[in-house]
Amino acid sequence: MTPGEDKTIPETRRETGDESREPNSSIPPSTLGARPSTVLTAPALTVRRLSVFFGDNQALKNTSLDIAARAVTAIIGPSGCGKSTFLRALNRMHELTPEARVKGEIRLFGEDIYARNVESVTVRRRIGMVFQKSNPFPTMSVVENVTVGLRLNGIHNRKLLAERTELSLRMAALWDEVKDRLHAPAISLSGGQQQRLCIARALAVQPEVLLMDEPASALDPLATAKIEDLILELKKDYTIVIVTHNMQQAARMSDYTAFFYLGELVEFGPTAKIFTSPSQKRTEDYVTGRFG
């Protein structure tokens, strides 16, 4: 567990959602002085005693950990170990599965995201998600895909939408490739471009946390490298949690690594430590490729 776990967290960002934030602050203030990621700040997410059940089957067991702000936290582990289950609990995606139940507590900058008076829609606006399979909306153009999150939340200011489009596409390192065909159908892009478009789409609503569920596993090595560069760039502004099957990817990109096995959090700590001197035998076996 990261240090600072037991301290009460000062509520650094009390805003409740997108609406209350300055709509024109296109660049979050943090870019001005990006800290080295090894410096610990108040965690973005604090997870306490989190359990997830699907019917009678417990997929995640009593997990507690802190996700550091403006850093990349990698979730690793063999298939079926609860990685994605954990990730999806972080933005209440399990609510779409009728038989799923979530127990425990998750706080985003101190606010209980499962509190009775908190809408899942508000949570998901603050905690965005990118999926394994790129899923740009097939009936929409490139630009419509980027702005869909804003438009369907009632933002129709053309100037703002245009600004956000460019900014999001630039942040997703896609602007130069698509700026001349913003109105082409999104599904005419290549696979790697589609995934970066999905990242741009998630960024356009300016979430505080970005969850990524194996975002590069369906891509070729070149496209994967682009996504990885992009994630390293994004962590200056965003808190990123990434599920990955690729051990090298976790080692290259993340600041913290959590190793899950059979629904339990086995070990969590700075990535360098997990990969070089893990304290658990199971972690060592997994990261050295002896099983999994």
Binding site: N91, M93, M129, K133, N135, V148, L152
Partner: protein
């Protein structure tokens, strides 16, 4: 591993193949026969007057079915106005909301309704609308066709919505989009062609219904001036002409049947056209 073994197996295969092919041909044959018959009997009676004039009294040659053609479109329009929103929204409920147990019952009810004889629908609407309103009316005809469309449209809408990958729903919700908006603007938009296809097929299906209209729209040899008056419809007119003893009316019935079949065929071809590039990349 011996040759006779192979021969026996090949023989069985050939038998099954021939049998299935013969049955497939049997499916197509009626369409060809019907078309041949209608064209040979009805084509000569199709002329400008057929589309523009009212029926003439018995004994007078000529005349047409203009009122019945317009009547059919008015009835279909009313049916769509009433049946499409209910059917589509019902399908959305089945696909996107609803618990599995409740859905099982709704689906079961819809499937039973799809199998209800059309004359029963006519009787139901007769009791519910014609009797209280004290008269046959175009309105009642539209309602009965709309009611017949609802279960059809509901099931096809549900099916095409289920074809939309769950990833789009998740992606939309992960953007903090409210569920109803995600359904309307993303899921339904993705499945739009399929929904329209289902609606058109349901329209084609009820376009030729006769029995329910006997109790509701009733038929009219002239124009209907209000929706509360009885109205003519092509299937009704064909029915009335066909059971009459007059050769002239028989010819009109053939021509009407041909026009009705062409209408249904046109809708079906329209559907093919719509669904043609369903999963191709747009450019």
């Amino acid at each position: 591993m011996t040759a006779p073994n192979h021969r026996w197996r090949n023989f069985k295969n050939a038998v099954v193949q021939t049998l299935t092919f013969a049955c497939a041909i049997l499916v197509v044959t009626p369409l060809v026969l019907v078309f041949y018959h209608l064209i040979s009997q009805g084509f000569s009676s199709i002329n400008w007057a057929f589309f523009t004039q009212l029926p003439k009294p018995v004994g007078e040659a000529g005349g047409g079915m203009a009122n019945a053609i317009v009547g059919t479109f008015i009835l279909l329009g009313q049916a769509a106005l009433f049946g499409v929103p209910v059917g589509v929204l019902g399908g959305v409920f089945l696909s996107e909301y609803g618990s599995s147990r409740l859905n099982w019952w709704i689906r079961f009810a819809a499937d039973v309704l799809n199998g209800v004889p059309s004359i029963t629908w006519g009787m139901v609407v007769y009791a519910l609308m014609v009797v209280p309103m004290r008269g046959f009316s175009a309105l009642a005809g539209g309602v009965v066709l709309g009611m017949m469309m609802i279960p059809l449209v509901m099931r096809t809408t549900e099916e095409v919505l289920q074809l939309v990958p769950g990833g789009y729903r998740e992606a939309a919700l992960a953007l903090g989009i409210a569920q109803w908006r995600a359904i309307v603007q993303i899921v339904m938009r993705t499945a739009l062609k399929g929904i329209v296809t289902g609606v058109l097929l349901a329209l084609a299906r009820v376009a030729g219904e006769t029995a329910p209209l006997l109790f509701t729209a009733f038929g009219n040899l002239g124009w209907a001036h209000k929706l509360t008056e009885p109205i003519a419809a092509m299937p009704l007119q064909i029915f009335i002409y066909a059971i009459s003893p007059y050769d002239d009316w028989h010819r009109q019935a053939w021509a009407g049947a041909l026009v009705l079949l062409v209408l249904v065929l046109a809708i079906n071809i329209g559907v093919r056209f719509l669904t043609r590039d369903r999963f191709q990349k747009q450019s």
